[in-house]
Symmetry: C2
Subunit: 322 residues, 2 copies
Amino acid sequence: MPLTEFELIRRFFTYPARHAVLGVGDDAAIVRARSGFELVITTDMLVAGRHFHQGADPEQLGHKALAVNLSDIAAMGATPRWATLALALPRADARWLAAFSRGFMRLARRYGVDLVGGDTTRGPLNICVQVVGEVPRGRALRRDGARAGDDVWVSGTLGDAALALVAGRLGLASRNRPPLRLKLDAPAPRVGLGVALRGIARSAIDVSDGLTADLGHICERSNVAAVVDFARIPASATLKQYLHRPAARLALLAGGDDYELVFSAGRARREAIARISRRLRLRLTRIGRMTRRRRGAPPVTVLDATGRPITVAHGGYEHFST
Amino acid sequence: MPLTEFELIRRFFTYPARHAVLGVGDDAAIVRARSGFELVITTDMLVAGRHFHQGADPEQLGHKALAVNLSDIAAMGATPRWATLALALPRADARWLAAFSRGFMRLARRYGVDLVGGDTTRGPLNICVQVVGEVPRGRALRRDGARAGDDVWVSGTLGDAALALVAGRLGLASRNRPPLRLKLDAPAPRVGLGVALRGIARSAIDVSDGLTADLGHICERSNVAAVVDFARIPASATLKQYLHRPAARLALLAGGDDYELVFSAGRARREAIARISRRLRLRLTRIGRMTRRRRGAPPVTVLDATGRPITVAHGGYEHFST
């Protein structure tokens, strides 16, 4: 017998809310923001056939649907607090839902996020998550705060997720594929880093469209330019094995879906950032610097080992132009 | 040439935010909640082929996608403040988007709602909206506040939207179809009423699944039962013409998508509610009363003109059981 919407919500999506006045079960959830804090609000929609394969592992999907939103909250330097989940499903499949809910809720609990509401309906598989976070008033990390002279930093390593997508076509050794897939399917949102960078970074963004595109967004909004040294861009041991191939270099520079943070900070912050890196056990790499914007020049210039600009054909991932 | 996601957002979804610190264009929006207020959060997803026809008028769709969320906020007695919009589209069609945006933004402006963020992607048409509202601390209208002895009230008229869906099958006169369609395609969320009922109503819900089902949700959460007089349920002049037909009576009792409010209030509030009705020029009808819950009895009993219970075959609209 098919599950009704109410049974479905009760079985898979009703959990005690830890910091909500009223969670799932009314027309809307009720929550209380702390005084002196601002709220940050973000939403992301994942569509079958576009962001994941129809047969994708539901537990990883549950993780990823929340992770991409937490990544946006992290890029604002905020603490995620409340999430809603709207789900369109071809059919109410209890096993699929149990696994999806497990992946979603495990990540939610790790970061103290309450699932406070949602909607379920029948339709082509579509996952829409919204997260509301809190940040002390005026302390959010924005895209428009970078200044010429800032260092440019990036967390973790880049390019694995994009390389995973073309691993088959490139004929990568099968032992090398699982670590790449892990970055694509189960990204780790940099929530702790975002919070730690409050008052230290001047601007931040998460890498969802690719390093050059996302750093370009900071440049546009801050009216600066960025110069990046290709050799400094952090790559995983797996990706390094393929750096002789153009596809791997493109993945590193312009591959999306890494969900690392790119941020800028004054030179005086280098020691503070090194301390954050040690405390979080998270690699933070200085890859370049912000400069003045010159009319007609591209916002982001990538230099090769000899100091010459590299031409980037693919400036990032555009959802409606590809 | 297809529109990129960035062009699309800039052209159709970027409006000055009136009460946001930072609107569309960063990883997340930043807003400031007023002190002494709680936040209410809701989300609704509309799917082509399920909630509307593939060829539905995009301007009405834009209106409806926001309206159903504002209705949830209204049912909480809250003031809607900020919205996000996630949109999956088969293709970036500028005319469709312009019309959709027009319908969405007209309603947003009417209620002072800022569109602060969103996501666009390619995929089967799917519209997911979230709204965050504010309500003075502890004053939200919830489903769990009804008491035995309360009057049961409903706003406007019921059943038109459900009747519109079967107008063709029933062979209704064509002059009667447009007013019914209007309730289905362009519902008016009862935002002003919700705010006016703070401190007056003890419980509230919006009629999205049908009167008996939604009143049943209040009964379940409040641990009371409801008795409704069928003859008192307010119907439009159009629907009244068809009350001899079972489908019209079913639409009145159990049809969804009306987005009116059902609420309960103590008897001492009758005059205050009449004043609200006059001030808002909105019909508010007392249709029954809350009683004690008896073990094994249904939560909602509907009485005919002779005082005998009517059997309701279809208790409401269940998204996964039909």
